[in-house]
């Protein structure tokens, strides 16, 4: 019996086999979607670039050399040099670490927050639900970028505060999804069964409700990543996110703004990195939605 047959066995012998089989089926469905594969490759590229930045980048991201400032792209400097003579390609490579850190932290803060708020609201219902969802709706009906700007203004510029501000604006969508999912199985028989054997509310929510929300949550978070990257870059562009000399892509575009008419590469090159990574998350999110959440994929 080959590994593949073992994975696709119709009557798995153990829980592990069933789980692995399920994961394998999803993975192969995802691999049949060319756009999703492209997205996955782009994100793997981002991960590899961030991980191996010191070996990929030919130069230091902060080392200045005023003798070769604003050189156009060439074989030596693939993306040219900026106004302090730094190699833009090296800065873009190191910038992938910052972008990855921002999206990872925003996801780690806002997804669990939204999940718990939504699950609690949906599970308990009544006044808890009304208050929590009222709060969620207020946040949802406000423009995200403006809200993030206002929060950063209050907290002060800097990459940590930018991450907090973006996370504050990102959770409501997840709360809505978690609540909707929770409502569908709140009164299911297996939940009643857990209650009968004496499971506490906390146990039911964390062990039996939340795990079922994860697949739609993964889809939504992946689709939101592009927006998060754009907001973070926007904050960086306005000087409210990552501060110099950090090689954050949005902040790099902002530096190049002054030279856009004569030295176009300074502002243009980091933009391509932003577009590539955002597109990668969009492609992967679209593909994941088709695999994990077929009912929402009505657009195809």
């Amino acid at each position: 019996m080959s590994t593949r047959d073992w994975l696709l066995d119709d009557s798995p012998a153990t829980l592990t086999q069933a789980n692995l089989g399920r994961a394998w089926r999803m993975f192969s469905a995802l691999m049949r979607n060319p756009l999703a594969v492209a997205g996955l490759l782009i994100i793997l590229l981002l991960l590899a670039t961030a991980l191996f930045a010191p070996w990929i980048a030919p130069e230091s991201p902060v080392g200045q050399n005023l003798q070769r400032r604003l050189l156009p792209p060439s074989a030596e400097h693939w993306m040219g040099t900026d106004e302090l003579g730094r190699d833009i390609f090296s800065r873009v490579v190191y910038g992938s670490r910052i972008t990855l850190m921002i999206v990872a932290l925003v996801a780690v803060i806002s997804a669990p927050l939204g999940l718990i708020i939504g699950a609690v609201a949906g599970y308990f219902g009544g006044w808890v639900d009304r208050i929590l969802m009222g709060l969620t709706d207020v946040f949802l009906s406000l423009p995200k970028l403006i809200l993030a700007l206002a929060f950063v203004a209050a907290l002060g510029p800097g990459i940590e505060n930018a991450i907090i501000a973006i996370a504050i604006t990102a959770w409501p969508a997840y709360a809505r999804i978690a609540r909707a999912e929770t409502l569908t199985f709140r009164n299911a028989e297996y939940i009643q069964a857990v209650r009968l054997v004496g499971g506490s509310h906390g146990r039911i929510i964390f062990r039996h409700v939340l795990p079922l929300c994860t697949s739609s949550m993964i889809v939504r978070v992946t689709l939101d990543m592009a927006g998060i990257i754009l907001t973070a870059a926007g904050l960086g562009f306005l000087g409210l996110g990552a501060q110099p000399p950090l090689p954050e892509w949005g902040a790099m575009i902002s530096r190049g703004r002054t030279f856009i008419l004569d030295q176009w590469w300074v502002a243009t090159m980091p933009g391509f990195a932003i577009i590539l990574v955002s597109l990668g998350f969009c492609f992967l999110g679209d593909g994941l939605r088709d695999v994990l959440d077929p009912k929402q994929g009505g657009e195809k």
């Binding site: 709706d137 406000l142 970028l145 700007l149 206002a150 575009i253 577009i275 492609f283």
Partner: protein, 347 residues
Amino acid sequence: MATDASMAVRAGRGARGIGGFVVVTALTFLGLLAITFFIGRVVPIDPVLSVVGDRATQEQYDAARIAMGLDRPLLVQFFDYVWSVMQGDLGRSISTNRPVADDLLRVFPATLEMATLGIFIGVVLGVPAGVWAATRRGEWVDQLMRVFALLGYSVPAFWLGLVGLAVFYAGLGWVAGPGRLDIFYEGLVPARTNVMLIDAALAGDWDVFRNALSHLLLPASILGFFSLAFIARMTRSFMLDQLGQEFITTARVKGVPEWRVIWVHGFKPIRVPLITVIGLSYAALLEGSVMIETVFSWPGIGNYLTTALLNADMNAVLGSTLVIGSVFILINKVSDVLYRVLDPRSR
């Protein structure tokens, strides 16, 4: 009898719908105010210190604190804040030294002008593009539209603005550069509405009009691109839903010409959801204009907001947030209500 009763029930439901709408909208506004109030509170800049200065004695500091009403309970301060906002008092800007409300009234028309031309471009190009993609499903037009739509989600607006300036202004010279007018056209027409195109047209000065349009075209097109991507994608998906219905097949079988099947039978039912989509993208444009205005030095509310942010001018920041947020909420709710009024199924 039965119909009367059901009519009454329906009318009652309608009234409750409108009443509920007012309550929900009011609560949302209150929530927005609570957020701006909260942000004003957590600000690390001590408002008292910025008034009395570093060298003030403790007595002066306490006196100023009491005079500014900061010693009262938070809830009292909040309702005080709500009350003054309702009277149109948003405080004074420390950078322009004028009331924030006056500043906002002055800059808002510029944003409105850009966003309106942007949504116009988005609708005029996006709706036909979406319908076209739906009728050519899976062909190259459709694929192109898909890539275009995804680019709309992945391209930073400020980057596209800069590249647009480099290409169309510096490179090709097709449009004018940043700002609303060339410097020598400045102040030639009286500012009646603060919408440059209308002011110039009212004054009958067509040179100014042409110059203003040339300045407006690039930023509005870039804004339009983002709404185009969204509108085209939604139109395509609505249209595909319709084209799969049986009445479309019936119309085709009866020999109705294809253009009529698409634009009359297919398009009519999707007008209502499209209104909601257009409303949503208009609201999104107001948000997107923050970045575009900064890039194009466009003297609108977005530029005002970012300037205030860099000067730590909190009254101006919160005032702009409040105005943009309110317009956003209002457009969202109105398109919601329009949908309910126009679509008989949702009644």
